[in-house]
């Protein structure tokens, strides 16, 4: 997979069909935006798998069904496996012109679903796996996941008299996935939605498994206003705490390297989950950011 998609998706040419509509996600939910856009890019002939989690909880309560395309809910740990089963079934049934898409959260992907995801990539089944990362188990009430960043106050890593919130840095999920030598993997942010949409499109053109890790803020869990989701999702890219990158043909590519990282203080201070952090903690976050970028740049080609 080396060739760029021919026509870039934008607000004008994306389909007006809405495949994820009338759902009960919280106002300003970043995850629901990722789901909506991914389905608009892939279209009505998309077989969707979601595990237990926010996106299935808000859309799949009989008889209120918010998806207009075919969709199935998997056991929490089973997204990767159901994807393979759907693809195999669609093949033996002789179906043509369709996409198979799995959408799971950070916990469903990087924690309980990691084994099935690894199995899926190992089989290299021709499907797309989308992880919307809101950096904690939001559906169950904001508990720490393997993708919760350092310093986050969650209900299981509460910041208190002694506690600084979560003491672990995020797992390097993108690199874990790339280490499988997957045909296509990318990171994205709902703050740069066209970039995300075009990565979904590119994933759909790849033969074999593709994986997209999209950062999707959760106003409820992050302690931000419902209107700030997109703004925060941009800021986290601009200050380098999240990065936009791709992996294909066995190589890493950084899509967007800010000339100078935006100061992270405003990003930290505007979020309730970080309000307890002091300068020392912010230094630790910056050090970890710089370490990640150094590593990424070392093994990335071009820009």
């Amino acid at each position: 997979m080396t060739s760029e998609s021919t026509e870039r998706i934008n607000a004008e040419n994306i389909t007006e069909d809405e495949f994820f509509f009338g759902h009960k996600a919280c106002a300003g939910c970043g995850g629901s935006l990722a789901v909506r856009i991914a389905l608009k890019v892939l279209g009505e002939r998309t077989l969707l798998v979601e595990p237990a989690g926010c996106m299935s909880a808000v859309s799949f309560n009989y008889p209120q069904m918010s998806f207009s395309n075919n969709a199935i809910i998997s056991a929490f740990a089973g997204t990767g496996a159901v994807l393979s089963g759907l693809k195999a079934g669609a093949e033996v049934m002789g179906w043509k012109d369709y996409h198979v898409l799995g959408i799971a959260g950070d916990g469903g992907t990087a924690d309980i679903g990691l084994q099935a995801l690894s199995g899926l990539i190992d089989r290299n089944d021709d499907v797309i796996y989308l992880c919307y990362d809101n950096e904690a188990y939001m559906n169950t009430g904001i508990q720490k996941s393997g993708l919760t960043p350092f310093g986050t106050s969650t209900t299981t890593t509460p910041a208190g008299k002694k506690g600084k919130g979560n003491l672990k840095h995020k797992k390097n999920l993108f690199e874990i996935v790339a280490a499988h030598d997957i045909p296509y993997a990318a990171t994205a942010s709902i703050g740069y939605i066209e970039d995300f949409a075009n990565k979904i499109k590119r994933a759909s053109e790849v033969r074999g498994t593709s994986f997209i890790h999209v950062l999707a803020p959760c106003p409820t869990g992050w302690g931000i206003d419902t209107s700030e989701t997109v703004e925060v999702a941009r800021e986290v890219v601009d200050n380098g705490l999240w990065y936009l990158a791709e992996y294909y043909d066995g190589e890493y590519h950084i899509n967007r390297k800010p000339k100078e990282f935006k100061d992270i203080h405003s990003y930290i201070k505007r979020q309730g989950r970080f309000k307890h952090l002091d300068e020392e903690d912010i230094k630790e976050i910056i050090a970890q950011r710089d370490k990640t970028w150094k590593r990424l740049q070392q093994y990335s080609v071009g820009q």
Binding site: E44, R45, S56, N61, Y62, L83, S84, A88, G89, A116
Partner: protein, 391 residues
């Protein structure tokens, strides 16, 4: 491949799955199930079976992948055993509630701890409440035949539920027997390709495996319960049409032996039944009115059939390879509950044996009948112990 062949229970089951033309197979290896998936892999590779074989990384994924494939309308198969079955346990309730007609072979094996790769029925019996049809076969021929029949049952419109076919680990899975392998023409005449309206559909998109609130959740469970009960209604017809084509029949949910006038009846599951039949014959020679019943289906449970079959019995014993710790054997609990509705009073006995692959001897079986005959106490007893129970 057809005609008489000398093959193991696992191989026989694989032949049945081939003849049933399972379209997607997903499985993860575990002793003593491995041979069935090895044979199926070979068949796919050799082109004898036109099927997609998914190499999954766990039993949990094996069943989830089978569910995904079944959601497209494909015929699916998976197989497991013991810890593997327990590892996929959450998926069992899932695919049953979602009405996915998956067929799974389970090689019955003891559950850890202590570790044992040998057979007993604690793995599958501990999952009786997970909403699957559960079948226990006696020999390799029945295993092959039930692999084919299982799809006819699972896919029946009034049933549409997954089926677990249980084969005793090693005793059945690894023992070679002469097995008649039917022709593909016979299998095709019996079993049509799977057709269903309950699937993902581009013309009429659906939502599958959804949430139902407290208002209607119980109602969905009642629907599931009724679908499982429907097996009893269809199993005899399925067996009759099977006999017409293959010349073999197995009867319904149970299989009685010399029960017509039997005073003492021993109930069993699976491969131990042959030995019990031999003992029944010996006791008949000695003038004891003995009989036996093999339960073929633990779900749906053959309550009415058992009451009918024990109409003349004064005592009924259950010889089973499991124990529900802190109470009694699970088969016994089920049998006892059914017989409590019998018109006449029957003494019931629970004999636990064969745990972790322990041998059950002819003497052990005779001791079960002796206990019933002497009207010994009805407390649960472990038979065949090699040490004195002094605790």
């Amino acid at each position: 491949m057809s005609g008489k062949k000398f093959i193991s229970g696992d191989e026989a089951f694989a032949q049945g799955v081939r003849l049933a033309k399972a379209q997607v197979i997903s499985a993860y290896p575990i002793t003593p199930q491995t041979i069935v998936v090895e044979r199926l892999s070979e068949m796919v590779e050799e082109g004898e079976l036109d099927s997609k074989f998914l190499h999954v990384e766990s039993e949990h994924s094996a069943l989830m992948a089978a569910m995904g494939a079944a959601a497209t309308g494909a015929r699916t198969f998976t197989a497991t055993s013991s810890q593997g079955l327990l590892y996929m346990a959450e998926c069992l309730t899932y695919v049953a509630g979602g009405r996915f007609p998956i067929v799974m072979m389970n090689a019955n094996r003891a559950t850890a701890l202590p570790w044992s790769i040998y057979g007993d029925h604690r793995d599958s019996l501990s999952l009786l409440d997970h909403g699957w049809i559960q079948i226990y076969t006696e020999n390799a021929q029945e295993s092959l035949d039930m692999a084919i029949q299982a799809y006819a049952i699972a896919e029946q419109e009034e049933i549409r539920l997954p089926v677990m076919v249980n084969l005793d680990g090693f005793v059945l899975t690894h023992t070679y027997e002469a097995v008649d392998i039917p022709t593909q023409e016979q299998a095709d005449a019996f079993l049509k390709p799977r057709e269903t309206w309950d699937k993902l559909d581009f013309d009429k998109p659906v939502s599958m495996a959804y949430t139902v609130g407290p208002d209607l959740n119980e109602e969905y469970n009642l629907l599931h319960h009724k679908a499982l009960l429907n097996v009893a209604k269809h199993i005899e017809n399925i067996d009759v049409s099977f006999e017409k084509i293959f010349g073999r029949k197995y009867g319904g949910l149970i299989n009685g032996y010399r029960t017509e006038d039997a005073d003492l009846i021993l109930i069993t599951l699976g491969s131990i039944s042959g030995l019990v039949r031999d003992v029944v014959d010996e006791l008949r020679e000695e003038g004891v009115k003995a009989g036996m019943i093999r339960i073929r289906f633990m779900r749906p449970f053959p309550a009415e059939e058992l009451i009918r079959e024990t109409a003349h019995a004064s005592a009924v014993g259950v010889l089973e390879k499991d124990i529900s710790f802190g109470f009694e054997g699970t088969v016994y609990s089920n049998v006892n509950s059914a017989l409590s509705k019998s018109a006449h009073k029957i003494s019931t006995y629970d004999f636990i044996g064969g745990i972790g692959g322990k041998n059950i001897s002819k003497e052990d079986v005779r001791s079960c009948f002796a206990a019933m005959q002497k009207k010994e106490s009805e407390e649960v007893r472990f038979i065949g112990l090699e040490v004195e129970d002094d605790i």
